[in-house]
């Protein structure tokens, strides 16, 4: 078979890229997915979307993405419910350093049109009454941050892309990519040989392995991040509550369940996505400290997914040294919330259109040069 572009990975990034390219009139796009729609990090993520970042680039990408999420249902003509809940993110500062940094972050965010504000712990308690203010100094709150259902949101992109003629191949793994004289010739999957000269790497946790197939070294690695969900109760929490210092994010979804996760600072790079009792133990302690009443809820299940970590915790989007080989990876745990811009901007790069947001700084070449890279610190 033949394709103008082969996109590897049917998570939200791959689906968004496929949709945006197809919408701009590109024909014969094939998306190859090893498992099923949202099988990787997308279907495993906390699905929060926030604009409260520490770097200008992340702020811009996040804001534009949230603007899209708010109109996504109509824009994509989706019949289902993407469950977009826009009740903010409350990010608590638990030490002096965070308190100072957050004040700076808010100034940056406000300058970019993001309506975040620095608030006292008393004000934070008004927004989230079950918050334990004894363990925090202050907080920042952005009312337009929110949460979506990652399955239906990705399905919305998938359905729209299919209507525009995109072909999806599920349960097919890319085994190799044939390159001759610096030109991509074909993609060999478990079931097909797809003749193409363009490949887009949106393989999430496996982005490095895809890069290795064409000798493009992508400085990313997979890292397990665990998450759990509780039984549902009546709504008591509007915003996502987050702390970098305490290492927790916790959100009540519309169904009533609480989703929460934290990072393991000792996690080694790997494709392991098994659940651990250590996570359950640490997560329970952390949430009971910050949001004590949640300790009364039963845990329904826990699972894990891979972050695709980049050296500066910022995405890698754009062209590579190999003509026709594009990457959208290294999201470091934030691929879901940036997906609308990932798709739009990569399609603009591919088609040589003017960029809606200048993402030259997200090019893979930034790791080749000696100049300082800006590391995003606002990460759980």
């Amino acid at each position: 078979m033949k394709a103008s572009y082969v996109i590897i990975g049917a998570g939200i990034s791959g689906c968004s890229i496929a949709y945006n390219l197809a919408k701009k009139g590109v024909k014969d796009i094939i998306v190859v997915e090893k498992h099923y729609l949202t099988a990787g990090a997308t279907g495993r993520c906390g699905a929060g979307v926030r604009q409260q970042w520490g770097t200008e680039m992340n702020c811009r990408l996040a804001k534009a993405s949230i603007d899209f999420f708010s109109i996504a249902k109509d824009e994509l003509g989706y019949q289902g419910d993407i469950e977009f809940k826009q009740e903010g993110y409350l990010i608590v500062a638990v030490n002096e350093e965070e308190d100072k940094q957050f004040a700076k972050n808010v100034i940056l965010q406000n300058s970019l049109g993001i309506p975040s504000r620095k608030i006292t712990k008393e004000e934070a308690k008004e927004i989230v009454p079950h918050l334990n203010t004894d363990v925090i100094l202050s907080a920042t709150f952005c009312p337009t941050d929110g949460h979506l259902n990652p399955f239906t949101m990705t399905d919305a992109y998938y359905q729209a892309a299919k209507r525009l003629g995109v072909t999806f191949l599920f349960r097919e793994e890319v085994k190799s990519i044939v390159v001759k004289n610096d030109k991509i010739e074909k993609v060999i999957t478990t079931n097909h040989e797809i003749h193409t000269s363009n490949v887009i790497n949106a393989a999430g946790g496996y982005a490095k392995e895809i890069g290795d197939m064409v000798n493009v070294a992508i400085p990313v690695y997979a890292e397990r991040h665990e998450i759990l969900v509780t039984e549902p109760v009546e709504k008591i929490q509007g915003p996502m509550v987050m702390s970098f210092g305490m290492n927790i994010y916790c959100q009540q979804v519309p169904h009533g369940s609480f989703l929460m996760g934290r990072s393991n600072p000792f996690e080694k790079p790997s494709h392991n996505i098994e659940s651990s009792w250590q996570f359950l133990d640490e997560m329970a302690k952390t949430v009971c400290t910050l949001l004590p009443p949640i300790g009364n809820l039963r845990v329904i299940r826990q699972w894990a997914g891979s972050y695709n970590m980049s050296p500066d915790r910022q995405p890698i989007i754009g062209t590579t040294d190999l003509p026709g080989f594009y990457v959208a990876c290294g999201f470091s745990g934030h691929g879901f919330m940036f997906a609308p811009m990932t798709g739009l901007l990569l399609s603009e790069i591919i088609l040589g259109e003017p960029l809606t947001i200048d993402i030259t700084d997200l090019h893979i070449d930034r790791f080749k040069t000696a100049r300082d890279i800006v590391i995003e610190k606002s990460v759980v």
């Binding site: 549902p232 109760v233 169904h255 004590p292």
Partner: protein, 106 residues
């Protein structure tokens, strides 16, 4: 009453201690060894909770603490699995009609 009184193998003849409790404010009783759900079931109560989305009646179903169908408010605590919770003297048992209010154990 739905209790089995005679059985070819099991012996139900022995007198059991009566346990008094309230169901939706009404004073009722079961026997020692009952779970909350078995006592209610014996009293002919079929509706324990409601389904989350359509609020349809839910009753005694899996009886092993898995299905969440028997979640009730017991002594003010919601989402109690009444099918695996032993009945105790003076318990206040109420039908649950929502997902349960998150409570504070203080």
């Amino acid at each position: 009453m739905m209790r089995i009184k005679e059985h070819p193998i099991l012996d139900f003849s022995k007198e059991r201690k009566i346990i008094r409790f309230t169901f939706n404010g009404q004073e009722v009783y079961g026997y020692e060894g009952d779970t909350i759900a078995s006592a209610l079931s014996a009293l002919g109560v079929k509706e324990f909770s409601v389904s989350i989305k359509h609020k349809r009646p839910r009753g005694f179903y899996c009886a092993i603490g898995n299905c969440s169908s028997c979640h009730m408010i017991v002594d003010g605590v919601p989402n109690v699995k009444t099918c695996i919770t032993l009945l105790k003297e003076g318990m206040k048992v109420e039908t649950q009609t929502n997902k349960g209010e998150l409570y504070d154990l203080k």
